[in-house]
Subunit: 428 residues, 2 copies
């Protein structure tokens, strides 16, 4: 570590305190971003396989231009008329099934989930929420209550119940009826709430369970849960903060893999390519009680600058056909990683879809023992070799690969080669 890095770390500790964590034993001092590349203060470049927020690439010129233009023209709230919010709401709802016809905007994924939870309570008259185990849904009080990855079961309020993360690799069930069997646990969670005298308001899930370990639910799970939760008079909230906007390649939204339509969809991170833009889409009928009863105003949400960023991201996704790119290059990465698995026994699983992939490292393929310590070494080794990614999952033994959507086959070749060498260096 350089003296400059050490000095910055010390200033962080003093000014920001210990809640601010850094990645890597040797933290990176990033000064520039461009496409799939991040550059450090010494001019060294890193292939970015971690950051899903700069969705269409770091500093994409079309997004930069749209932001620059609008910032110099007008930035104000939504109680005056403005074209951008209308155009963006039209374009965005156009990306959903017809019944999801209404959009509301805020600034972060936490705020989007907060809003969805408030609306679900007002619409259903229920107060309870069901989340999957080891989920992350935000940093505010209500969203953190359903962040089951961080709050032990005995510290959760009685209006929170959980269902197991529907993991077909490491979880309770495998095989063709895994979806149905996992869904039955949601019915049990509803019964748990009811035994406590709590009426459920909603079930919430990220449609690829990220913190749970980049887990794609088995086929039929999401739609079966939707039926169960609606039978109980509650809503299905799809948290698309991570899988949304074409990242999975196959569909524009993660839930579409299961051929059903949620009641509320929340969005965040990639929506403005780094600009703090988030929102939710729902059926117009669902917000009526909320609009009549509770006041909602978000000072920055849906302002002309945020909407310009959102529009520009949609432009780039469409013009550069990035969903298709995620599908193609994502599959190329998956195939390449499985090839690496032939040489590296430590690779237990490769999963996910498009540019939302998990590479699980295990000590023993049969027993699936998590290779947690090794994963940490591999991540640091990758960083030293110019590839940035991060750990995920209950045992932090999964490499979370969420590259910007402009990641090419050539980038993938470099990534596969780097991962190959890093694994070899750590294992031998």
């Amino acid at each position: 570590m350089t003296a400059k890095q050490s000095a910055m770390i010390e200033r962080r500790r003093k000014l920001l305190g210990s809640a601010y964590k850094l990645f890597y034993d040797n933290p990176v001092h990033i000064v520039k971003g461009e496409g799939v590349w991040l550059y450090d203060a010494d001019g060294r470049k890193y292939l970015d396989m971690y950051n899903n927020v700069p969705h269409v690439g770091h500093c994409h010129p079309h997004v930069v231009e749209a932001l620059t233009k609008q910032i110099a023209t007008l930035n104000t709230h939504t109680r005056y008329l403005h074209e951008n919010i209308l155009e963006y709401a039209e374009r965005l709802t156009g990306k959903f099934e017809d019944e999801l016809d209404l959009a509301m905007f805020c600034c972060t994924g936490s705020e989007a989930n907060e809003l969805a939870m408030r609306i679900a309570r007002t619409h259903t008259g229920g107060t309870g929420f069901i989340a999957t185990s080891f989920a992350y849904h935000g940093n505010s009080r209500a969203t953190f209550e359903i962040t089951t990855s961080d709050i032990p079961e005995d510290e959760r309020p009685d209006y929170i119940a959980t269902a197991p993360v529907p993991d077909p690799y490491r979880g309770l069930y495998t095989g063709p009826d895994a979806g149905e069997k996992y869904a039955a646990h949601v019915r049990e969670a509803i019964e748990t709430l009811e035994r406590r005298g709590v009426k459920p308001a909603a079930f919430i899930i990220d449609t690829i369970a990220s913190s749970g370990g980049v887990v794609s639910p088995p086929p039929g799970y999401l739609s079966a849960v939707a039926e169960i939760i609606r039978d109980a008079g509650a809503l299905f909230i799809a948290d698309e903060v991570q899988p949304g906007f074409g990242r999975t390649g196959r569909n524009f939204w993660g839930y579409q893999a299961d051929g059903f339509v949620p009641d509320i969809v929340t969005m965040g991170k990639p929506m403005g390519n780094g600009h703090p833009l988030a929102g939710m889409v729902t059926r117009s009928g669902i917000v009526e009680e909320f609009a009549a009863k509770g006041r909602y105003f978000n000072t920055f949400g849906g302002n002309p600058v945020s909407c310009a960023a959102g529009l520009a991201v949609l432009d780039v996704l469409e013009q550069e056909e990035l969903q298709q790119n995620a599908l193609d290059v994502g599959q190329y990465l998956v195939d390449g990683l499985w090839s690496l698995a032939e040489q590296h026994e430590v690779i237990g699983d490769v999963r996910g879809s498009g540019f939302f992939l998990g590479l699980e490292l295990v000590e023993d393929r049969e027993r699936k023992t998590p290779a947690t310590a090794l994963t940490k070494r591999v991540l640091n080794e990758l960083r030293e070799r110019g590839l940035l990614t991060g750990p995920i999952g209950p045992d932090a033994n999964i490499l979370k690969l969420r590259c910007p959507m402009v990641f090419t086959r050539e980038n993938a070749d470099q990534a596969l080669d780097t991962i190959d060498r890093a694994l070899a260096a750590c294992l031998h």
Copy 2:
């Protein structure tokens, strides 16, 4: 109303739903902002006396330049090292008393208050909050629970108690000991919580009570409450989302009018001149339990672009001496409004400080009967005459005047003349 406006309103209703409200009977279609001016689609300009978010003026060139440069260079999260967050944390904590030495960043005032409330609970071990009556503190569940302006007392959770807004014009107490008498109600609120078995975590107040009617607490109130709340083992949270960043003219932070130091200060709206930037400052000791126990990561909070905006706002405030401008021109406005009161019996009170002013309209000066319907007419009349502001207070009979900090004496002359004519038009 033009056909274009009607069509936009209809699109809003359909796409955004009824939670999205518009100002004015004849909503304004704003397309451009510059300094204290907003421009509509027909090229008509409006003097902006409402918007505190574009703190140093709409589209201030220095802020636009700083944003433009950083947007094209890098926008990423805080788990890599970056100079901007350190420089901004240094500059920002430098605006506070020495003991407030630690900053944390998020995107909205709601998020700042959420974070402050979570930290207060973890630090004190208490769960209760005391807010003033008719306060607004945010749109998320926890911050909306203390938004006493919207939630009737019997619908509040048992861990929320209130104290009356310390209003020296219309409230319970006037005279030199009003501060002390109002503060005694906070002691009662603590006792209320304790009777319910709830240990208090914090008292929270916007140091000029905006929703309460632009009320400056009587001298001695804030410091007396700080002593009372600390005696109960709880914290004092100063919500500076509206009064902060020099707006009151006299001090950089609203609480400083009372010569004491809060435990946590939250900030939002003006911080990034419209860019979604918010944060809190506290003593480093207070976040330790929180950092050790609860995870906190805010994806967009404190990113290089947000911090560039924050730094640019501080630059402009300092270089253009805008706190002094708010003090001088604010006093000039107050004097002018009192002069108008000689002709207009309907002016019951003029109050506030700097560019955070309230003009209260009453039917009867003696009985202080709120002139609610008239206020609405006056606001619409002002809009037609090219001046934008809004209503506030429990009876919506107060004009909230929070102009951008670059508002000049010449702007004030025009404003006073317009208000004079609008009042005359509405009254005769």
